[in-house]
């Protein structure tokens, strides 16, 4: 079909009958779709109407000896960009349709009036300036084909702008990443020093790190819980995953040896230990109170 369309217009700058037929069918379609896009309450409908308009325009490009642009229009615009639109629409919530009430007084009337005046001026201007002028056609310029012609231009006359567009695209991509990146709540990660200070201040369940397994233990196995300096069994030294062996409780040392252990542990001891035995976390840096 594209070949047909191109052939219909390739002979001369002036449009043939076939092109006129296509234009008078697709032109109103494009316009109607555009108006419908503006009027549609639902944003998804708007997007679909826009796709229709763009497809029509793509056909026009093809008819006007611009096959490259026509396909880019279809692939990039209607394919990629509009899908991006739809994607965002879905993300934002497609039910977020406009309310009918216009907040700004006179905005709609003024917009329509100004728009009509603008359209009138454009039509009048174009009509007076360029009505029925002969069109040269691209037969000479694109004698080697459309795509080679554009390629030559892009890589010769328009090389610098072309290179600049690459920078623009990279910047845009980076910008989009920065903007759209869903940062967590900015929570300062505590450094080692701050962690120690907080721990000594009593903000943690215990002052010391959890004891490693096997320390002071009766055996070197990770399944054997450590012994605390007073000889009692440190259950938190065992990973919850490992089923621990029962260890003999040593006879308790004299009372003055308790000075080594934290006196405050008396109350939180039970809660902390309980949480640890039932909780899922195991690391030495357990911070959840």
């Amino acid at each position: 079909m594209t070949a047909l369309l191109a052939q219909a217009a390739s002979t001369a700058g002036d449009a043939g009958v076939g092109e006129a037929v296509v234009f008078w069918i697709l032109g109103p379609v494009a316009l109607a779709a555009a108006i419908a896009m503006v009027l549609a309450r639902n944003a998804v409908h708007s997007a679909l109407f826009l796709v229709l308009t763009m497809l029509s325009l793509a056909v026009f490009y093809l008819m006007q000896q611009a096959p490259f642009l026509g396909f880019v229009q279809i692939i990039v615009y209607t394919g990629a960009v509009m899908m991006l639109f739809l994607f965002v629409l879905m993300l934002v919530g497609r039910d977020s349709s406009d309310s009918v009430v216009e907040v700004l007084r006179g905005q709609r009337v003024a917009a329509v009036l100004l728009g009509l005046a603008f359209a009138l001026l454009l039509v009048a201007g174009v009509g007076r300036a360029a009505f029925a002028i002969p069109s040269a056609g691209l037969g000479v310029a694109a004698s080697n084909g459309n795509l080679p012609g554009i390629g030559r231009l892009v890589f010769t006359d328009y090389l610098l702008p072309f290179e600049l567009t690459s920078a623009l695209l990279i910047t845009a991509a980076l910008g989009a990443i920065v903007l759209a990146f869903a940062q967590k709540k900015p929570k300062a990660k505590l450094g080692q020093r701050a962690t120690v200070i907080a721990r000594l201040r009593g903000e943690h369940a215990r002052v010391s790190p959890l004891p490693g397994p096997g320390v002071y233990a009766t055996a070197n196995s990770v399944a054997v819980p450590a012994l605390l300096p007073d000889g009692s069994i440190a259950r938190e030294s065992l990973s919850e995953i490992i089923e621990g062996h029962e260890v003999d409780e040593h006879p308790r040392p004299p009372a003055d040896a308790h000075a080594l252990t934290d006196g405050r542990r008396a109350e939180p001891e039970s809660a902390g230990t309980e949480a640890r035995t039932t909780g899922a976390a195991t690391g030495g840096e357990e911070e959840r109170a």
């Binding site: 907040v103 003024a110 917009a111 001026l121």
Partner: protein
Amino acid sequence: MTAPPEVLPAGGAASAAWLLFAIPALSAVVLFLAGKRANAWGHWLGVGSVLASFALGVVIFVQTLGVAPEQRTTEVSLYSWIASGTLDVDFGLRIDPLSLTFVLLITGVGSLIHIYSVGYMAPHEGAEPSSDSSRRRFFAQLNLFVAAMLVLVLGNNFVLLYLGWEGVGLASYLLIGFYQDRPSAATAAKKAFLMNRVGDVGLALAIFLLWLELGTLQYTEVFARIGELGGGTILAITLLLLLGACGKSGQFPLQAWLPDAMEGPTPVSALIHAATMVTAGVYLIARTNPIYDLSATGRVVVALIGVVTLLIGAIIGCAYDDIKKVLAYSTVSQIGYMILAVGLGPAGYALGIFHLLTHGFFKAGLFLGAGSVMHAMNDDVNMRHFGGLGRRMPITFVTFGLGYLALIGFPFLSGYFSKDAIIEAAFGQEGWQGWVYGGAATLAAGLTAFYMTRLMIMTFFGEERWQKLTAPNGEHYHPHESPPVMTGPMILLAIGSVFAGFVLSAVGLNQWLAPSLGELEESTHGVLPHALVPWLVLAFSALGVLVAYLVVGRRPTPVERPEPVSLPVRAARRDLYANAVNESVIERPGIWLTRALVFLDNRGVDGLVNGLAAGLGGGSARLRRLQTGFVRSYALSMLGGSVFVVAALLAVRFA
């Protein structure tokens, strides 16, 4: 009218004439700047500087006497003072009989008053002399005054005259307001300054006019070329000069400041407001006599001003109880005589100066005597509190009495020669002028005799009313004679009062002044014969004395001022409503004008400015509402702009 004398360069001592005012000026600077270390000796420096000036003046005078009258007018050009475009003003001195006469009067009487002030301004008993800076300040200002006055009379052009004119105005302001802690003194100083300004504007305008018409301000050139001007211009110049003279000399209608100026210390009243500064107006008119010679109308106005003033002064002088104010109005009246004299033209210039000199003696003596009385009476000035002081203060009584006799024109004392001469000249005019001038002057002579006799009786004779009274500060009065440093000048001035008139007329003052003022013209066809006038004046004066004796001397004087009194006395007590007139004619409209201007400024000018600001502010506050924050509104504006631009493009392209 004689041709103006040739002006020669000064030689000998006259070339050092600038020292005349330079010495007092330097002394004033030293006293002003030396601070309290000069407290102990500052007053003697002041006295010495004026004495030195006086000595130099005498030397120059003697030297001038030695040359022929045609060669007595000399000039010293010190340097080119103001050279701006075509305006070229010399700092030059004119030494001629007129200025020398004034120099001697100013420095001579000034020296006596300086000496007197040493005693009068002495710190109060108990006060450490070196800690009281008021006497040093006083002498500094007094020296400044003497210097300025000498510049005034010595300058050889109008600008230098104006410099001295303003200088004495400044010194007068400072000295009237010398007692800074008294609000009345401050007010009086301000009043004197303001009313002097009115006159000064007249003088300044006259100078401007002269410059505009003649392009020069040197006396010599102005007087040589004054005849080129039209009659109207000359009349305008004379009237403007007269306005200046009125302001400085306390003449009608600007007389109101002079009595108030008695707020200053008594030596100031004696020196400035009796003997010297207030005579500057007379000097001005005498000095510019070539101009007045050309304008008969101007002279008539001058004479009429003098007549009105001498009557006003004499009438008001009868009503006051304040000894200094009586003397002040007496001064107003006597200067009125002088102005009348110089207003008579060539027939009177020299007589005016003659009276000025004798008046300088006896009025200074009277003021010093009044100061002595005040000194004795705890600075009280109300004559109703005095009485019988003659026995307590013999020297003051005698000197004051001699001054009194001189003033009322007692035969063969000073006033007799000078005042009678003026009255004779006044009667010597033709037609209505002779009757008006002479009649008024004679009447005023009688009034003068009345009020001065009243003053003498109330002060020195009769019951000692002060015995039953206490001074405002609660003490009893203890009248006593003043120290020799005060009585000495009084005695000298009394001698002057007695003999000055005789001596000056005997040695021929008129001929002496002729090079400056022209020959004195004796009028021959006046309305009254000359032989009759002295007897007429004497009769009026005697009548005044008699009436005063009958009204005041024969009855006890009430200590409190009698109220109510008849209309003329009420009017006289209120200065013939001069202040009321000034207030209603000048002050009230001025205040209204000020208020109107303030209103206009607040509502009109400020309103315009503030309204503009408020309008802009309000408009901006409303325009701000356009900035809604809705991006679609902005987009609408952009579309509107696009439509406009496209329409404009198409219109330009296709229209």
